[in-house]
């Protein structure tokens, strides 16, 4: 699962200071709930992305804690206020501690 490439889209690449930027992101992940059973009746262990965070130029603008009730291939859409130019880094953390990271850029004029 280490090579998953998240799909990230900003509604604008350039923004005026104070403008609201919308971020949409989709990442491939099974989001196994830990509630399902396999054909032998054994519980399939839980494996989900339990944390999400977005930083812009190193400062956190939004984060989330996910439960198994989040659908497979989780989609997230949120907004942030353009303050300074820099990388927009999105990080998802798996139950096993591995991380999926995606990056975009924003230019603030």
């Amino acid at each position: 699962m280490a090579d998953v490439k998240p799909r990230i889209k900003l509604d604008k690449k350039e923004a005026k200071k104070g403008e609201i930027v919308e971020v949409k992101a989709l990442v491939s992940h099974i989001m196994e709930t830990g509630q399902r059973k396999d054909s032998k009746g054994e519980v399939i262990p839980r494996k989900i992305l339990n944390k999400f965070a977005c930083t812009v130029n190193g400062k956190e603008v939004f984060s989330a804690d996910f439960e198994p009730a989040i659908s497979a291939n989780p989609y997230i859409q949120f907004k942030f206020k353009a303050a300074e130019s820099g990388p927009v880094v999105l990080t998802w953390t798996d139950d096993d501690g591995s991380k999926i990271v995606g990056e975009e850029k924003i230019t603030v004029t």
Partner: protein, 156 residues
């Protein structure tokens, strides 16, 4: 295909299942709140620390009828200026008819600009989804909405 043959019902089982299914459907419409029992309420209590949450300010965008409970689009926004003086800090989403009540928790700051988030969630059955917003001044606002689910979203 490792399809488990023991899961295939024979004709008699199929017939009785069908009858039970119809019965459940008829009952289902009338006793929706009755089986709403999981840890959703406790989660809200823990989130608010027992404080009352005022109705309003939170907008829940959910379909009235979800054909596929595996992926139900949800949008939540909270009315707030999102300034240093007044902003939303946390937003809790729970569903009272899933095996477990928790859905997600979102964290905002003035850098978020607006408290507006969308995602897709699993709903096992027809149930109420509740969002509770925590403001920086320690007050809470809440909104609930019922979603009718035709196919449950928790598999097996």
């Amino acid at each position: 295909m490792n399809y488990d043959t023991t899961l295939r019902p024979n004709r008699r089982q199929a017939l009785s299942l069908g009858a039970a299914g119809i019965g459940a459907m008829v009952l289902g419409t009338s006793i929706v709140p009755a089986y709403a029992k999981n840890d959703a309420e406790e989660l809200i209590k823990k989130f608010t620390g027992g404080k009352p949450a005022t109705e309003g300010k939170v907008n829940l965008d959910l379909p009235e009828i979800a054909e596929n409970g595996n992926t139900v689009p949800i949008g939540i926004s909270v009315e707030s200026p999102m300034t240093e003086q007044s902003h939303v800090t946390d937003l809790l989403v729970v569903a009272d008819g899933n095996p477990r009540g928790g859905v997600a928790k979102f964290h905002f700051s003035p850098a978020s600009g607006v408290a507006d988030v969308s995602t897709r969630i699993r709903l096992a059955a027809t149930q109420n989804v509740t969002a509770v917003a925590k403001m920086n001044d320690g007050t809470f606002y809440t909104t609930s909405k019922q979603v009718k689910v035709t196919i449950g979203g928790c598999g097996g």
